[in-house]
Point group: C2
Chain length 297, copies 2
């Protein structure tokens, strides 16, 4: 059985190209891991690496990235618009084919404890790997930021692993497990931004819509068209097929047709196959009905 | 890059369990090949094996099956309802992820010539691997059957490879390359068999419908429901999404809703992703946008 895991660490360096290249090289240097994407933002002074592979190989690559980042960065001189607690700010593990969320939580706990021990770093567990209810949401953990963390380490921010003492150059690390995040946009055949904003509001969880869905209305410029831009935080809760149907029904009710969908980045196999199953009304269509799935590493 | 190939050989033995088991074992004994399916029919006295893997491993498994079958079977005593030319009657190679049809044709030619040489067997190339227009269709090649082949070997049935002489115990082999065959049924919410038969007639290629589609109307018994049963002979020509839309539109026009689809056996990844792309109106959605596809062997 394949045990594929995706890892999407966020690192507090988005400006120095040579440093970012060395961090990417640390990931690429691990056998059987593929670096699928890498994006850096200078204003945020932050880079996001997306890599995947067998669970054990991914754990090795996470360690390699932490090692390299701790050699390169010094949080005492870090500036950037994005909130952060440390040099390796957050390490989410995401289950793919052959891996359950529970197994990913166990992997996050193991790797987090290894990092804490290896580098004497305070480590917090978040999302599905959270050990306390107030540490499920990343913004809650990150609130004091690097600069304010030291004074809270004995009270609200006692680490889940590692010493209750700030690592001066590396700060602290947040490690967790979560479902894959799917960024999905739907373009409407209209310039009516208000329609896209109304649909977004109706379908997003924060205003009582679909669970695990974030949505906003946007205006595209060339050509001018209204777009519903979404994040699906858990496709096993709300699928791509469901958001498509909900957006299409609302657009059609307003006399507007849906032009096209757009998937940003890569999508997990199971999320794509959910759409196949829905469109063809297939009962019990699972990954193992796809020939190639039997040849996943 | 993965180079996955499916191979679906048909062997002229569907009755003796112990023999069939040894043939399956010959395939299973080849490293990096997976036997995905195996079905035997006693009336036809014929077995179909479906295996897949990297192109080179699949070639080795095809040879292993031919070797084992030639040890076990004797066409001089073979009886069965299904037309056949030989012990290993037909060996189709099917391109999966990472393999083009042209590469599969080259593989079929190479393996066919190796079989001809190794066993002094007449070999014919069919479907996409055909070297003559009159050998594209399997029934045309198979018409004389084993019993009538000897006298045609110097005229209409000069082999494409190997000697123009019948192999007494093994007959001849037909080797080829073709797209994956997808068996797909759509169940209608009606007992009106005539509607299913009319839709089937309208959409099948043989009566001027969709290219590379075979279709028939059937009646299911428990519960009683009309069904359109289809074979898609080339999903790159006519996709699952297209046949679904065509059947649904015709059913709806007759006031009947479509209940569910049913995929028989396994489906190639690309055929499933075509449905995802169609349902979400995605531009340029390809296999490499699926995370797990980067980890195919």
């Amino acid at each position: 059985m394949p045990r594929l895991v995706e890892c999407v660490p966020n690192v507090s360096e988005g400006r120095r190209r040579d440093v970012i290249d060395r961090l990417a090289a640390a990931i690429r240097g691990v056998a059987e891991v593929r670096l699928l994407d890498q994006t850096s933002d200078a204003d945020h002074n932050r880079s996001v690496f997306t890599f995947a592979g067998d669970a054990e190989a991914v754990a090795r690559a996470a360690h390699a990235l932490v090692d390299a980042t701790l050699r390169e960065l010094d949080m005492r001189t870090h500036t950037g618009a994005h909130p952060r607690l440390g040099a390796v700010d957050v390490i989410p593990f995401v289950p793919l084919a052959g891996m359950t969320m529970d197994e990913c939580v166990a992997l996050a706990h193991r790797v987090g404890r290894e990092i804490a021990e290896r580098h004497q770093l305070p480590v917090y567990f978040y999302a599905k790997a959270a050990l306390r209810p107030e540490r499920v949401r990343l913004p809650d953990i990150r609130k004091p930021q690097y600069e304010g963390l030291a004074e809270l380490l004995a009270t609200s921010h006692v680490p889940d692993a590692g010493p209750a003492q700030l690592h001066l150059t590396a700060g602290a690390v947040v490690v967790g497990a979560r479902p894959p995040l799917i960024a999905f946009n739907i373009e409407l055949d209209t310039t009516d931004l208000k329609l896209a904003q109304r649909i977004a509001k109706e379908i997003r969880e924060s205003s009582g819509g679909l669970p695990a869905v974030q949505a906003k209305g946007f205006m595209l410029t060339d050509p001018p068209r209204a777009q519903v831009s979404m994040n699906l935080l858990d496709h096993t809760t709300t699928s791509l097929a469901t958001v498509w149907h909900e957006v299409e029904a609302r657009a059609n009710a307003a006399g507007v047709t849906v032009l096209r969908g757009e998937l940003i980045g890569l999508v997990p196999l199971d999320a794509a196959l959910q759409v196949t199953a829905s469109a063809l009304k297939l009962d019990g269509f699972r990954r193992d009905r796809v020939i190639e799935s039997h040849f996943l590493e």
